[in-house]
């Protein structure tokens, strides 16, 4: 078979056909992989929440978002058999050694820390990455801490007059970790007091609406990621 001439018609046709075939093929693959991708994302989120609020894998999760200075926090309320066993807050700090640090922290109903872990960071391997559970047991010390009992209600490293033992040679990373948790805690407590205030004037319609948006938000959130 002779090679095709490079006429304008041939060129346009060829490119068009190739792109069309590619688009159809990709659409097909996309449809097959859509569910596994979604599942992998859900799984990842659930695992992350389960670390900071143990037992979350057996319950249902209600999600809500909250804008704060310079970013967005996400709260995951974990409900097992109708009882809220804790709330995981995805929080952040921009003051890490490598910039942004994202932290997941779990609080009980009184605002005590259940557990915490780093989600994403760009800290130095071997130093700042000890904030992650998979690297070092450093963040175990946050278990059970109650920020409301602390001086000025601020979570700080010992160097700054707080209670947290910073990672050796990674004070900046440790401070950023505390900063992230502090931000999450404050938002969580504000949210509780707001919820209490709202509870005084119950409005059933609104609660129904709220859960609906929650589901939508979860869908939206996972699609965006």
């Amino acid at each position: 078979m002779a090679k095709k001439e490079s006429t304008f018609f041939n060129m346009t046709l060829t490119l068009f056909v190739i792109t069309a075939v590619a688009a159809v093929a990709l659409g097909y693959v996309y449809n097959i992989t859509k569910d596994p991708i979604q599942k992998a994302k859900d799984e990842k989120l659930k695992t992350a929440i389960n670390i900071v609020v143990p037992g979350a894998d057996k319950g249902t999760i209600e999600e809500s978002k909250l804008s704060v200075d310079g970013g967005e926090l996400v709260m995951y309320k974990v409900i097992v058999d109708g009882n809220c066993i804790g709330t995981a807050v995805k929080t952040f700090s921009n003051n890490g050694f490598g910039g942004l640090i994202t932290v997941m922290v779990g609080f009980d109903s009184e605002g005590k820390i259940i557990d915490s872990n780093v989600l994403e960071h760009k800290e130095t391997p071997g130093l700042g990455d000890k904030t992650s559970k998979s690297v070092a047991p450093w963040n175990e010390q946050f278990k059970g801490l109650d920020i409301s009992q602390m001086k000025d209600q601020m979570l700080k490293v010992t160097k700054d007059g707080g209670v947290v033992n910073a990672i050796t040679a990674a004070t900046i990373s440790s401070r950023a970790y505390c900063d992230a948790i502090q931000r999450g805690w404050k938002a969580y407590m504000d949210n509780i007091s707001k919820a209490v205030a709202e509870d005084k004037q119950p409005d059933t319609d609104e609660t129904v609406n709220e859960t609906e948006t929650d589901v939508e938000q979860i869908m939206e959130e996972t699609n965006n990621e």
């Binding site: 693959v29 992989t33 391997p125």
Partner: protein
């Protein structure tokens, strides 16, 4: 015989990384551990084989002047397929390779083989060529990843053999350059 040669040349004699110095961005970027290097290498192999075969199949139907854009679309399709598949089935690996998966599309090896080999040879020898080159690339990435992992975190394929921090610089950016420099020098020596 010829096919065997086509297959093995990618490992030492025409190794894309050590000898031809192609595709260095992913080589340096993802090789913080042996498993990452292997994953990246296999993903690239898939794209190489796929695009080589398709290019060899349709080479006569494509007018010369739109050759390169057509090849790019074909390659980009395979890259997207592997991107979606990895996101769905190996999410942890997918995350650690990150940006470098979509960037396979601009990996000079892939377009280079499509243009230099697949557009002139039969489907079968293009398949062998893609497989050989791809596995050669995977071999190079795994080797560099293993060296960096052994020195940088005292572990290999995730198994730690000395329980302390390694020589950190090897998992950081400079270690990628150092590791590759010495491996290239070594390969030069072996090839002589």
């Amino acid at each position: 015989m010829n096919n065997l040669k086509n297959f093995t040349k990618g490992f030492i004699k025409e190794n894309p990384v050590f000898i031809l110095l192609l595709g260095l961005c992913p080589t340096l970027g993802v090789t913080t551990s042996a498993i990452n290097g292997l994953g990246m290498g296999l993903a690239t192999t898939f794209v190489l084989v796929g695009s080589n075969v398709v290019v060899a199949l349709v080479k006569k139907l494509i007018p010369d002047k739109v050759r390169i854009p057509s090849f790019i679309v074909i390659i980009a399709s395979f890259v997207t397929i592997i991107d979606l598949v990895m996101a769905g089935y190996v999410p942890a690996l997918y995350e650690s390779l990150g940006l470098f998966i979509p960037l396979i599309v601009v990996n000079c090896i892939v377009l280079g083989r499509a243009e230099a080999f697949a557009s002139k040879n039969t489907v079968f020898s293009s398949l062998i060529d893609g497989l050989g080159m791809g596995l050669g690339f995977a071999f190079a990435l795994t080797l560099l990843g293993a060296v960096r992992e052994i020195l940088g975190s005292y572990s290999i394929f995730g198994y730690k053999f000395i329980n302390t921090d390694g020589i950190l610089v090897f998992v950081l950016a400079p270690g990628a350059f150092f590791g590759l420099a010495y491996l290239i020098a070594l390969m030069k020596k072996i090839n002589k």
